[in-house]
Structures are given as C-alpha cells and as structure tokens.
Subunit: 388 residues, 2 copies
Amino acid sequence: MAERSLVFPAAEFVRRTGALQARMAEAGQDALLLTGPADIFYVTGFLTRFWESPARPWFVVVPAAGRPVAVIPAIGSALMGRTWIDDIRTWPAPDPEDDGIGLLAETLGDLVPESGAIGVPMGLETSLRMPLGDYLRLAARLAPRGLVDATDTIQRVREIKSEAEIAKIRAICGIADTAFEAVPAIVAETPRLDTVFRSFQMALLEAGADWVSYTAGGAGPGGYGDVISPAGPQVLRAGDLLMLDTGAVKDGYFCDFDRNFALGKPSPEVCRAQAALFAATEAALATLRPGMRASDAHRILTGALEKEGATPGGGRLGHGLGVTLTEWPSFTDRDHTELRAGMVLTLEPSVELAPGRILVHEEDIVLRATGPELLSRRAPAELPVIVP
Amino acid sequence: MAERSLVFPAAEFVRRTGALQARMAEAGQDALLLTGPADIFYVTGFLTRFWESPARPWFVVVPAAGRPVAVIPAIGSALMGRTWIDDIRTWPAPDPEDDGIGLLAETLGDLVPESGAIGVPMGLETSLRMPLGDYLRLAARLAPRGLVDATDTIQRVREIKSEAEIAKIRAICGIADTAFEAVPAIVAETPRLDTVFRSFQMALLEAGADWVSYTAGGAGPGGYGDVISPAGPQVLRAGDLLMLDTGAVKDGYFCDFDRNFALGKPSPEVCRAQAALFAATEAALATLRPGMRASDAHRILTGALEKEGATPGGGRLGHGLGVTLTEWPSFTDRDHTELRAGMVLTLEPSVELAPGRILVHEEDIVLRATGPELLSRRAPAELPVIVP
C-alpha cells in the first residue's frame, strides 16, 4: 500500500513544496500552517476519508526550506508514515487539555524566528479546520511572530496542475463518462429519482471510482429548480428533464460535470435552451486562452447565451477543479483572476427557462497555451431522450 | 421533495431550536452563529452534499427567540426554501468584494443588542467553516458585541438524540448490517483490497444508503496497521485479517461500525484477541449507565481487555455518533463528559497484538436509562472465516 498512499512519486511533492517555498519567500512568509484536507493532501500525499470525523485537528507546517513537518493525531502516524514526510510529531487526540496546540506552537516556534511571519489561508474559498479557540490561543503563544494571510501563496501554486495531476483528473472524468452511459438503462429500470441517484453512484464505483463524494441533480417538467439538492422519492414522468451531476474521486482527484436527459421528446423551448447551452460551451472551447481573466470566461459564456436568445442563469458559470470538487477561480463578472496554462476548469453555463426552472451544462477542461482541452467527453449537441 | 428535504416534521426542529435557546439564555448568549454542515442541518433540515464545494460560506443565526435565520448563497435558496426556515437572506456567492459578511453583520446587528453576546462553537471537535479573515472582520464590525464560545450550548443539546433521530441511526445501521453480510461473497469474487472496498460501497448503496461518506479498513497477516487508510491494490491472502469500517448515510444520519473477517482459520493469538474484544464489548453493554463519565466507559473497556490478558490499543475506545461520522464525547481517560440517556455512542475497543498490528471491534448503541441498546446487529463472538 506504500505506493498507493503516496499517489505520486516523491518528486511531485518536492516540486510542489519548492513552488510554495518560492512564493513564501516573495511574500515574506517563513512558514505555512495548513489545516485542511486538500492543502495537506497537496503537500504530503496523505489521503484518507477520515476527515469525515470532525474530532481531531491535523496540522502540516511548510518551513522556508526542506520538507513539510506533520503535527498530527497519533491515529494518523501509520498512514502519514507511508508518505514522503519524515518528520511526524504526534499527540493522543482528542485531548481536552491540549489538543496538539502545545506541540504545534513548539514546532512553529523552532522553525520561525520571533520576527517572522506564518502564513495561514484566510481568504475567499478557505476555512480553518481547527477549533477557533485553539487558533486564537496559538496566535497569542506565537507572538511576536505574526500570522498572515497566505491564500495567494497557496492558490497560485495549487491552481496550476502538473501533467501527473491532469492525468488523474482525466482518469476520473473517463470513469464518470462511463457511468453516465448507464443512466438511460438505470432510469428504465426504476424511474424513481432516489433510486436513480443510488444506482448512478453504483455505476461510478463499478466504473472505477474510489469513492463518490458528490452527487446532486434535479428533475422536473421542462427543467429543474436547483442543482444542489439530494434526491427524493419523486417518480420521473414524460416531459421531465433529468440532470445528474457528480464529483467522483480517484486517487484523491475529482471530476465535476453533469449530464442532462429528456424523458420523452423535449419541448421546442427546451431544445432552444439546449442549443444555446451547447453553443455557449463551444464558444468557450474555441476562444478561451491563457492571459484572459475569469471574468472574461463569464463574458464569453454569457454573450454566447444571449446571442442565442437565452437568459443566462445567475451564479458562476464555471470554476476550478482538482483536489476538491470546486476550486477557485469563479467565472463571474467580479472575479478577475488570471487564467493560466495548466489550470483545470469547468465550463458550466446555465439558462433560466422560467423563474425556478433552469437547465445547466458542464464540461471539464484543462487550459493549454493553445486553448481548452476537454477532459470530460463532450456531451452530445442534442438532449439524449429516454423513453419513459 | 418537500418532505424529504425536511427529513423530520417541523416539530422536531421547533424542539431543537427551543432546547438551544434555553441553553443560550442560561449562558447569556443572545444569538448563535452556525457555519458548519452538521449544526446547520441540525437546526434547519438543510441537507445537501454541496458542502463538498469549499467555495462558499453558509450562515445560520439562531436568535434568542423565534426561528433561525438563514444567510446563505443564492444557489441554496431553493433547497433552504423547502425546510421550515422562512427568513432566508441570500447573496450572489462567491463574491470577492464581500462574501456575505455585510449581510451577516446586518442580520446579527439587528438581532443582538450592542451589549449582547453571540455564541460561536470554538471548542474541542469544532471548526469555523468560513474564511478566517472574514470572521475577524465580522468580529470587528459587530463590536462592542462579543463573540463567545458556544461549544457547550450546542454539544449538550445535539448529544441527546430524540426517538426520531434514533430511528434514523437504527435504519442506517441496519443497512450496514445487510451490506456486511455480502463481504464474504465479495472477497471470494476478487480478493483485492481496493475492489473489496468498491464492492462494499456498492453493497451499502444497494441496501439503501443514500450515500457512503466513509469507508476505511485494513488487512494484514494476523492484524492491520491502522483503521483510517484507503484501500490499495493489495491481494488478500490466507492468514490475513480483514477489517472494513463504514460511515454510510441515510437521511443525513451516520452509522459507524466495523466488522472483521479471517482469511482462513485464525491463529490462536488472534482468537484470544477476538475473545478479549468480544468480552470487553459485552462488559460495556452490561454495565454502562447514564450518570457515568466518558472516562468510565474507557475504564470498563480497558479493564475488561486487561482481565482477558490483552493489551488495549491507544486512542479512544468509542465516541458519539449522529449527524457526523463521529461526535463527542471520547472514551479516553481524559474526557469526563457525563453520559446521559439518549446519547448514541460507539463501543470501539482495540487490542494491540504487536507494534503496528491491531484488531478493533465496533458497535453502535443508544444509551437508555437501563443501559445500552444495540443499534448495530451484534457481531458474532467468533471471527467469521472466509476461505481464501
């Protein structure tokens, strides 16, 4: 299992750590304190579903030079010991007296001079996965060292995927492609939405997903109300549009795309929305380039939808993707993050057919110097029809 | 889907909110600010796997009286609108300029007097699911109102399960019982650990789980090294012990228990460890009572193992269970939380056979006035043998 828990050869983690340390040097950060599953997996290869248990905090410190140091609950030492990390300090968590803060303060105190700064992700799309009270106590204990925002340090590195990472995302997209092929047969067998969701998750596992962290979707006459709901016992009927969206996982990497199906022949209104969405994705595939901004992607998608006479849905029309279901940036008119070669992104145009009734397409791409390369298999131009 | 997204009738949420408000009044907290999926599900019924996306923060405010107020990204308004919450305030997240903090500050400012205190979970087993920078800005903006620790307020309410909640946990335990029955056939078909994990997840879905948030396990000659690792391509061999652990989910409630299987006839050493673990669980089932402390459960389990001549494993030997895979308290010698009737708990004794080689049992119970009632079907006294 040693190789498996690493996911990548050590060289990949050496590269990542080096890239972070270069950014840290520029930003005047003498260490990074990481607490979340994605950041910790990114620098160590430590991959487990045990994050589902909120009982214990986990800490990884990236020093100015050298390998990251893990300060973790003893229960994780065997698994962390199979990664490239060699400095693993543990305590018997959960400990109501001191849940790792003493050990962490000592570690940071040794690695960072009193005049130094410790970077912590504090910005958009981040959160601190440790008790807030302990964080405040840690900050007091580390003073005069400062705790500063390191969101930019981490996001500018993580957002550019290596070819090894792109291969992982392509693999899980291929698994989802295979599972989506099974949907018509699944619906034909039992057209109840919750059963369809259950069988779809089984199809993802059957196709090779390690686990299925996310499924959502909707179904309704001529569109659906939202794209984040779990499935209820609703029975699919002729005239319904069914959408399934998945974030399945292989080797710690996510896909995130959806597929739509019409129960019986779709109405002309739905066909027009479908055509507009397909055209909008085509426009983005044809014109998106490095050097553009996230807001440009929003403009391209919105413009194409409007040209087709469709009303763009609210919210973001695509986003980053990788070691979490969604990553920054967001394709909105307010996000001006630069798009760079190596970013893995979703194109997710949506159309509002009526208040509370939408249709959403989604594809996964990697942005190359020459433009987007599809990672998901392109959805068909016309809505697949399932005879109800 | 309206009923489904509620999970429970509104009366259940009225009861929960009332219980929180009674604790808040005692603690001098004029509102609670909740940011995490479990707390938000607990007071609203808002259930979605969309929490997998770290892009957006979600806020629910429990005022001193009346229904909770949701301050959430617009993408969640349709789903939140199907719960019992009627005051839903939204913004177009993610917004790099102001990701809901203005709206949240206004909401809290209206509900809490300037001399008041706002409770936030800050203690053991909690974390703040929003950007830390935004939290610090919010705190400054709300001054002179204080932000105080509300861990106790929430934990003392959430830890006592209603009969409706117990029924949900019993249902998902039954689903896992059924799936575990399929394990010998799964192993017989393909004795590769990652394939076994995949098929086991499919069996959980087949048996009726909505989704499978957690699987872990281990396998090795005469024991395994840890209980949090994902599966690798390791091929199971005669003499191996296989352990599978799952936190599957139905209606937002988790089970959390494991089962062990011997590949071929187990060694006398393994049989002794098995007998000691079985006896330890029996001892806890027979003697655990409300009014004891979490540390008493640890003492009972450890004492029973030592009486059988076994070496208890490190770490906690059981914990709470409910709307997350694990909840407080922890069965350690340091956790003195009072055990009360209505708590759902796991009994998780472990034995160290040799350094890096353990055997772990786990059952789920609800603590009644008269003692534990099993929610998982009691594991057999002797290790089930799979002929390799």
